[in-house]
Subunit: 358 residues, 2 copies
């Protein structure tokens, strides 16, 4: 059993923003909120997926909505706990553990806040191994686990519960409610037993986030190459190094969608890498040819510091490195590709793996 302390949150939030592949909201804000909760309530216990009792009652909790809005509309003090409590009351069970449903930005720290406030341990794992924009896009869906009953709450005190016939229906109803609630809300969903978590989760994500965050920090301290350190941690590869020359961004139907273009530097000047995103980066095209796609991870880092850059903070002139890294292998199954492959998002492309040669 590991303990998560206020001083671990910097590394956790930084690593989570890397796995967040551009989405998940500003990691800084999530870190501040979680630090405040840990200072007030003490450290949170982190339990390995393999150590969960079969009959554990695990309630994941997350922020839903457009990251562009999340950075301006903070959750209220007890909103996150209320989401968990609303779901617990509806299903008539007492939660024994909380969990992250995705690894990414705010959604790696939001569950830390609830765990601290409610005095519950947190599972060291998540339902994706990265971030994706829609709520049915989790490995538990592939394992036949239902997203609902789910709870949704806003910072004004409005609460809702949905109990739907498919996980896609949960996404649809919760997305509309999120838009009504001001484009961000807290959700608790995919209530699972310990056995179900072991079957369907990616194990070790919180530890991995901390380890990625620490690797970036170490490289910065030692004047090393933080980008190379992240590539190493993820077993990924560097796609492109350059300067942001264009960003198109729009917040529609509760998502932050857009494209960004990165012109190469030095030898590769004139080679244009275009990133297409919907909360998260989904496709990377080099000179018009896709070279990496969802479900693999496409990550943008500040070239000098190695700090992860979310889609909403991409700016003209930013010097960035774009990398790709393999997703959990279950995402490459036919059902995984149907759920989160490029065609689901409207790109007429077969998925391209991060480690394929260009």
């Amino acid at each position: 059993m590991m303990k998560l302390r206020a001083e671990d949150l910097g590394a956790l939030a930084r690593g989570a923003a890397v796995l967040g592949t551009g989405g998940g909201g500003d990691p800084h804000i999530g870190r501040l909120l979680a630090q405040q909760a840990l200072k007030e309530h003490g450290p949170v216990e982190v339990v390995a997926v393999g150590d969960l009792p079969d009959d554990a009652c695990v309630l994941p909790v997350a922020m839903m909505g457009a990251p562009t809005v999340m950075v301006e509309k903070l959750p209220s003090a007890d909103q996150i706990s209320i989401a968990v409590q609303t779901l617990a009351k509806y299903v008539g069970k007492t939660p024994t553990h909380l969990a992250c449903i995705e690894a990414g930005g705010v959604n790696s720290t939001v569950p830390v806040i609830a765990a601290a406030q409610l005095g519950l341990p947190l599972v060291d794992g998540d339902g994706m191994g990265r971030a994706f924009p829609e709520l049915q896009m989790v490995l538990p869906t592939l394992a036949g686990i239902e997203a609902t009953p789910m709870a949704i709450v806003d910072e004004k005190g409005n609460r809702g519960v949905f109990d739907t016939v498919t996980n896609e229906w949960a996404e649809r109803l919760a997305r509309s409610a999120t838009v009504d609630m001001g484009c961000s809300a807290i959700v608790s969903l995919y209530a699972m037993t310990g056995a179900e978590v072991r079957e369907s989760f990616v194990a070790g994500t919180l530890s991995k986030c901390v380890s990625i965050g620490e690797a970036i920090d170490r490289a910065q301290q030692l004047h090393g190459d933080p980008v190379a350190a992240v590539v190493d941690e993820l077993g990924g590869r560097l796609l492109h190094v350059g300067k942001v020359v264009d960003v198109q961004r729009r917040t529609t139907t509760g998502f932050a969608r857009g494209d960004a273009a990165v012109d190469g530097l030095d030898g590769s000047q004139g080679r244009l890498l275009v990133l297409r995103f919907q909360n998260e980066h989904l496709v990377a095209e080099l000179d018009g040819t896709a070279i990496a796609t969802t479900p693999d991870l496409i990550i943008v880092l500040d070239t000098e510091s190695g700090e992860p850059i979310t889609t909403e903070s991409l700016r003209y002139g930013h010097r960035v490195s774009v990398l790709a890294a393999p997703a959990d292998e279950r995402w490459h199954s036919p059902a995984g590709i149907e759920l989160v492959g490029p065609r689901y998002f409207g790109y007429d492309l077969d998925p391209i793996r991060a480690l394929e040669t260009v």
Copy 2:
């Protein structure tokens, strides 16, 4: 205590369509569904508002959405009961009575179906004394009673519960869910004690619907004047007799909105009465001047038969009589006018009472 039998439903549905002031959906469909339920489960007991025990647990139930859609997408066999059961489970109470939240078309017969299926008595009253298009527009809102917790269910098996900070927030979240669910859904809301029902309901609405329906029937049988019979029953007045010459209709954000123009006949030919509706008729203008507005009732009947005509069945060439009748006096209070007066619906008009002189 009165019993509602299958043979009463013709008169009930017809009278409810009169009070529905153009909204509430096709009464014929509601009648058929209720007749089927009464044949299967036997008559439903109807309890006067004054006879309710203080601690009764009364759950109103209704169809929400665009009447234009309701006539094509019937509720599933158990959808209506499931809405009541979902709310009962959420509030942790056993309902003792069901009720209509509005008097109007389908929403006077939907609760009959649930009462028959669940073997519960029905309250002889409703929350409006007429029909209005949004769910906060009920006298219980004026009495400070909360719409939520509320349940919403669709015919596919999706269920939701909302618990909101205001009744306007309940409308907003439930309207979005209704649109997602295909523009019609069943809701159960405004859970009340018997004492609260006595304080905030319009008493006797179901009996009044039956009595209006029977008056139309009697006038038809005796070759009398069914339109005059309805004017008598309601204490209203005849505004205009003519022929429909134009109908503009659009289904937007879960409502059926539009306008209809009625040209006068004989002596009044050339005098144009325009009806403006959002599910229900809200304003009647004669030659460009408003002569009756919400909250009073504006009702369109077939001139010959006296049958009420819903906004979705208004057709070019239809010979119609337009009447106005006074609403429950509580609707004319300042708070009532703020909730359902012409300005709420975007008309820059003071309310005009049905019985004012033109």
